[in-house]
Symmetry: C2
Subunit: 345 residues, 2 copies
Amino acid sequence: MAQGRVTIVDVASRAGVSKSAVSFALNGRPGLAEETRQRILDVAREMGWSPSQRGRSLAVSRAFAVGLILARAPELIGSDPFYPSFIAGAEAVLSKSGYSLLLQVLDDPAREADAYHRLATEGRVDGVFLSDMRHGDPRIAMLTELGLPAVTLNRSNISSPFPAVCLDDNAPGITVATRHLIELGHRRIAHVTGPVEFMHAVRRRDAWGAALADAGVPEGPVVVSDFTASGGAAATRELLSLEEPPTAIVYANDLMAMAGMVVAQDLGFPVPQRLSVTGFDDTELAAYVSPALTTVRTSPFAWGQHAAQTLLQFIDAGSAPDVELDSPELVIRTSTARPLEPPLT
Amino acid sequence: MAQGRVTIVDVASRAGVSKSAVSFALNGRPGLAEETRQRILDVAREMGWSPSQRGRSLAVSRAFAVGLILARAPELIGSDPFYPSFIAGAEAVLSKSGYSLLLQVLDDPAREADAYHRLATEGRVDGVFLSDMRHGDPRIAMLTELGLPAVTLNRSNISSPFPAVCLDDNAPGITVATRHLIELGHRRIAHVTGPVEFMHAVRRRDAWGAALADAGVPEGPVVVSDFTASGGAAATRELLSLEEPPTAIVYANDLMAMAGMVVAQDLGFPVPQRLSVTGFDDTELAAYVSPALTTVRTSPFAWGQHAAQTLLQFIDAGSAPDVELDSPELVIRTSTARPLEPPLT
DNA sequence: TTGTAAGCGTTATCAT
DNA sequence: ATGATAACGCTTACAA
């Protein structure tokens, strides 16, 4: 097991210099002969030394870690392709700066406030990512209070002292999906959304509504669901048993859309002949269901990269500009087609 | 923002005792008058003090954190319901002990060794979870070398100094799935597996083979795939274009199974009439595809709990017993049925 | 250009 | 039972 770890003094004595010289060499500070610096670095590598994060942390009052707290039900996270890619993207830039990611998944959302509180008071992280922004999100007040830097993934509806890194914040992805259906000739276009507490749920709903209004198409029915397969199935059943069922449904995510397509076909609404369907996320499976799902492809990896970059800059400099990432693209597959009967005009 | 944090000396002086007294009170050490202890704790709460994790870490040479490194491609992690639940389970016990989880997702598996190395030498974590165990897994030698405690999720095929926490290690889940098909009367049962470097892939393959052998059923064809939807689709196409296509396929995970079912129906093999299909994982969507997928339900949350418990114990005590979790259960839905033609006996 | 010494906030040792 | 005092491993004035 770990015999006496090699520390900075070992390296110093081996290189015949003082501790501070080693520290300077490591951190690329000026005021060291290039030759000495090189020698020190060589010795360090040779001895397999990397500075103890613990000593470092204590000395500079930094944790060299940022946090991500997910308060959704695990099942929901599990079926969301977003997080792993986001985390991979974030990690790519964090690790370059010697930062780590602390992840917390809470099965009980009630413990959320407590979790942020602990992260802050124990000084485990220097900042956090705020995802799944909610209406009047209480976390931004909480974090300002705690003095913990943050970056919000998209915006809440309240003003925030934190930089926002936005991908599809105004849901242009849904706009283009809805337009696609309109162009195909659909006039009864429904929407299945997620819990209204989530900003992205209402933003998608609004984008859908605005796209319809823009085209002078009457607003179809909306069902508020919960982003789960079971929720998507139930919502679809509800929509298709209306007196005038829609000819197309815009779902707020792929999972609900895929479950919805199955329900539709069971109820005698073959997709896309009698019902067109669009999703959101472009999960891998979306291309392999039948019919293949027309959906909106986002790039969570890039989102993670920018979010991490912005967070680090905010931590460092005390401020960082908002970032708007490129709009996601619509991937057109076979779940969308012209409606059977032309609409009455 | 956070003005000068309150430290242990503040509490000490306010309570009129020494630093060590406060430390003793906090950690419930003997050698303190009950009255003093109480007074100290009161003052601490009153001042809103909690000990700095940084100072603590340096003093006791512990990070109070454990690591999880995922070296799969993010897409693959994203479609795997395993990790979020596992992490939630682990977190549930870690946070009770004041531990945190450090997560790293590597898009480039080549950086894996380096990642473990850094985690260890920088002293960021006190131990790690080893998942996705591989054949002759190089990580266990690496970690013994580094002196970093670990817990393996299931076993590798080589001996290990680390405790193993096992769920379905010998793939009884696949055994029961295969038996289920045999009992239905299938005699040409194929298998689609994951990359053979992964222990769980070969264990599942072996379990499938053993179940067939046990029942005196000839071993069907095997296609080595990659746990992705696209891989599952390709494998299925391959199996169904054989001269004697199987009447049932045991897939090593749900994603491949769901993609496979679609391919089968496209190729004129309606499920379950002409082809029975079983999956593995019981993702949420499995119940909402058509036909609903018969699959094996595991409990990653419990796995996470036990793994964390074991890891903490191993870190603390230097040893911990292996744990075998309950076998997963087979969830029978509508993707499996009796084969059309009775087998020739 | 290099070395010395004083923190950072704990815990742990050892007198008192 | 209690209180100095020395680690822990690093950074950073400041002195040489």
